[in-house]
């Protein structure tokens, strides 16, 4: 499967990549995006099977990316990996069509819980 990792921090993209491996999801094709606009374009162009996106990014926020994707008819499975997990944000994420919201800092176990229904 192809997974898009969208985060403006290269360090966090590296951590997400490492955590996917630690969670047992090896051998997947990983694509990266460094801001919201790149995330939208990469989703359209690379047609990933799953998007793991930060919320707070330059150009477009993660939820703006998700809303724009859904508005254009794109149904890619989409989850957030973000430092913020307020009830308001979880509600906004769910209403926009996100499957899950993982808060930073996270563990491989939390990745497994969220991703097993999709990648397991």
């Amino acid at each position: 499967m192809k997974i898009l990792i969208a985060d403006d921090s290269r360090v966090m993209r590296q951590i997400v990549t490492r955590t996917l491996r630690q969670a047992g999801y090896e051998g997947h094709d990983l694509v990266e995006a460094a801001d919201g606009r790149e995330a939208f374009d990469a989703t359209v162009n690379h047609r990933p099977d799953l998007v793991l996106s930060d919320w707070n990014m330059p150009e477009m926020t993660g939820v703006e990316v998700l809303r724009q994707l859904r508005a254009s008819g794109n149904k890619v499975p989409f989850g957030f990996v973000t430092s913020e997990g307020t009830p308001e944000m979880r509600k906004a994420a769910e209403e926009a069509g996100a499957l899950f919201l993982i808060t930073k800092p996270f563990t491989a176990d939390e990745f497994r819980s969220a991703l097993d229904p999709i990648l397991g």
Partner: protein, 162 residues
């Protein structure tokens, strides 16, 4: 300034423990230890995120250059000698983002978290028109680490409310 339960040092300690156990010290070898009285507040590398909305202020992490290099190496999974200034800026900024995001969850909503701002090679940092809500000072790999939550005491019109 707002009337609400403020984050406390215990809150910062809990958030820091999660960050250390997940990302900076997953093996449990180099935990963040309590600081001793008189330990200095580092200022070589400072990163901050700002919160605006129902609560206004900043969450700031201050590290020594050595601690910031260790943080970048740990987060990226590389050797200390491989760490670049860009790695340090990215890593410390992300630490501010993670800690700030978790602090924001304790604050009145709605509010918005900024992207992190990072200053390296700083002799000192100064935040005007704020009051310190809480801070956590610890020692990591023999290096001081400081996290502060600073609430703005200036309202939208730029008039001090205290």
């Amino acid at each position: 300034m707002t009337d609400h339960p403020n984050p406390t040092e215990d809150d910062l300690q809990m958030i820091a423990e999660q960050v250390w156990s997940s990302f900076l010290d997953p093996a449990g070898i180099y935990p963040l230890l309590p600081a001793l009285p008189g330990d200095p507040v580092p200022s070589d590398v400072s990163a901050a995120v700002s919160v605006t909305g129902a609560w206004q202020g900043h969450v700031v992490i201050n590290l020594t250059e050595t601690a910031s290099r260790h943080a970048a190496a740990a987060l990226l999974g590389i050797e200390l000698g491989e760490v670049t200034v860009a790695d340090i800026t990215d890593a410390v900024g992300e630490l501010a983002n993670i800690i700030g995001g978790n602090v924001k969850s304790l604050l009145p909503q709605p509010s918005v978290l900024s992207l992190p701002q990072v200053v390296t090679n700083a002799a000192s940092t100064y935040w005007p028109a704020v009051v310190e809500v809480c801070q956590l000072t610890g020692v990591w790999i023999d290096e001081p680490v400081n996290v502060s939550v600073l609430e703005s005491n200036v309202d939208y019109a730029g008039v001090s409310s205290s």
